[in-house]
């Protein structure tokens, strides 16, 4: 028994190394000059290929990675905040007021879970143009709308398990439904709020195509800044690309290690939605 578990241990360590190798390789090459990345990507740093932090400095300048970081943070935070607020309210209402109309609304919202982005990509970008939503503030409206399906679906499932007696008591005490919702219902939703925030936050942070179509290269988010390095004509500067990938990975890694438990639970609970 001990022997077999030692073998498993060794296998797992080798697999972990294999899993981490791509990231290690990017990190290693982010310190090399581009010339050496294509000819000797696997060699360690030495006097001829090492360029210190040059890729980071020049790459950041070329892509505007720090303002891209700012746009990504802004869009992700306010999209998620809006989704949490608007969807929890709507899901609560749809679940509590039982009628044919609210039932219809529920299905109307969850349709968007099934429809792939390509179906609405073109017409949505035209609509966004017409309504002048092509800015970091305007795009929030689109994310709130796109996030609605999954979020209302998950909130509705949760609200069903919340006891109604507390809500009734608050109303009898003279609260109106809006203050009652924020004092009584919203605090009870905390666990599902976390799950929905993580699911939407990871999606929006990493989302490429929607901001690429809507914002273009005027307001680059992180994925667009990375893509921008390779999108132009002429040869791709791999040194800059590697350095910018590392910068883009740092916030994700920090976030992962600080709230790993919530992230793994949150993301995988999205899978069991069907």
């Amino acid at each position: 028994m001990a022997k077999s578990s030692k073998l498993i241990y060794v296998v797992l360590i080798l697999l972990s190394i294999a899993f981490l190798f791509p990231i290690f390789l990017v990190l290693l090459n982010s310190f090399k000059s581009t010339l050496y990345i294509s000819t000797e990507p696997f060699s360690l740093l030495n006097e001829s290929n090492f360029v210190e932090l040059k890729n980071y400095v020049v790459g950041a300048q070329k892509t505007g990675i720090y303002s891209a970081f700012g746009y990504s943070v802004f869009i992700t935070v306010f999209s998620v905040a809006g989704i949490l607020l608007l969807c929890s309210m709507a899901a609560w209402y749809i679940t509590r007021v039982k009628s044919k109309f609210t039932n219809f609304l529920y299905y109307l919202f969850i349709i968007s879970m099934v429809v792939p982005f390509q179906m609405v990509m073109f017409t949505m970008s035209k609509t966004a143009d017409a309504l002048k939503l092509t800015s970091p503030v305007g795009i929030l409206v689109l994310y709130w709308g796109f996030g609605a399906g999954l979020s209302i679906f998950m909130y509705s499932g949760f609200v069903k398990s919340v006891p109604i007696s507390l809500e009734d008591a608050a109303l009898i005490d003279g609260c109106n439904p809006v203050t009652m919702f924020f004092r009584v219902v919203f605090p009870v939703l905390k666990p599902i709020n976390i799950t929905i925030a993580i699911l939407n936050g990871m999606w929006i942070w990493n989302d490429f195509l929607l901001p690429y179509i809507i914002l273009g290269s005027e307001y680059r988010t992180l994925p667009i800044a990375i893509q921008y390095l390779t999108g132009g004509y002429g040869s791709v500067d791999y040194g800059h690309l590697m350095a910018m990938i590392i910068i883009a990975l740092i916030p994700i890694v920090i976030f992962y290690f600080t709230c790993q438990k919530y992230i793994i639970e949150g993301i995988t609970s999205g899978a069991v939605k069907g």
Binding site: T123, F208, T268
Partner: protein, 281 residues
């Protein structure tokens, strides 16, 4: 209480309903309509019946080639990702030390966005190819195909593994003990206890990889962008190219999107049906 609530519809539901209409419902409806038209600027849309759809199904080098590539890619990835994830889950439920650290490492790639994933693997795969055969990933569709499969495995294995671990840990320990008392060997335990009992998890994971692979865009866009000569273009990328790379083809792109959507919807319904029927057993 319901009566009091009804007056508050405008506060609770109307805001999200309005943005949902702008972002999704209106684009969906007008998208379906435009798939039957030919247009350059949307306002000059002209009804052309089913001719866009006829084009889609005769688009051998575009849509049909992308469909074939996507189907092949998804089929191969479904098998490999789930197989590796299940094996990892078996290894990580044996109580070896460091289990949590291993879980953390294997799950991590799942948090990385598709564009970054694509470029990470471009450097790894090109590095290996240039060292061994002297060409890069754009040289042959074969390289692009396996590149995509490797990338998708790296991204999904940790995720699926977590679901399988949860499934394996939910197996009642009495069952395992009873099997041990009966003298069952490891293979019999796997085949007669573990596999049947994690079947619901397997269904979930198969469909996750199926719909994820089928709808893939970012990774494809970053890793190969269709090279060589659109041979590694997947469905989502082909639709994107039809909208934005060919002038006057937006109606055709929209028809492709409708066909694509119907396929995705069919997959989802099949999934719901299969999971429901499993629950009854």
């Amino acid at each position: 209480m319901q009566k009091t609530y009804k007056k508050y519809f405008a506060v609770f539901v109307l805001p999200i309903l309005t943005v949902y209409f702008i972002a999704f419902l209106f684009p969906l409806i007008s998208g379906v309509y435009l798939s039957f038209t030919k247009f350059k600027t949307v306002s000059d849309a002209e009804f052309v019946g089913l001719s866009n759809y006829a084009f889609v199904f005769s688009d051998v080098r575009g849509f049909l080639s992308a469909l074939k590539f996507t189907a092949k890619f998804t089929a191969v990835s479904m098998v490999t990702t789930n197989l590796f994830a299940f094996i990892l889950a078996l290894l990580l439920t044996k109580g070896v030390r460091g289990t949590n650290t291993f879980r953390t490492i294997f799950f991590m790639p799942n948090l990385i966005g598709g564009i970054v994933l694509g470029y990470i693997w471009q450097i790894v795969i090109n590095g290996v190819l240039i060292k061994t055969v002297g060409v890069d990933i754009t040289y042959s569709a074969k390289y692009g195909f396996w590149g995509m499969v490797i990338l998708y495995n790296w991204q999904m294995i940790g995720y699926l593994m977590i679901i399988y671990i949860a499934g394996l840990q939910a197996i009642p320990s009495e069952l395992m003990e009873a099997a041990e008392v009966d003298g069952a060997n490891k293979w019999q335990v796997l085949k007669n206890i573990k596999l049947p009992l994690v079947m619901p998890a397997i269904t979930i994971c198969l469909f996750l990889t199926l719909s994820g692979g089928f709808k893939m865009f970012d990774q494809n866009f970053a890793l190969t962008n269709g090279a060589p000569r659109n041979q590694t273009t997947m469905l989502a990328l082909d639709i994107y190219n039809t909208y934005y790379k060919r002038i006057g083809f937006a109606g055709v792109g929209q028809a492709k999107a409708v066909v694509f959507t119907l396929m995705v919807v069919a997959i989802t319904f099949l999934q719901v049906k299969l999971t429901r029927s499993k629950e009854v057993d």
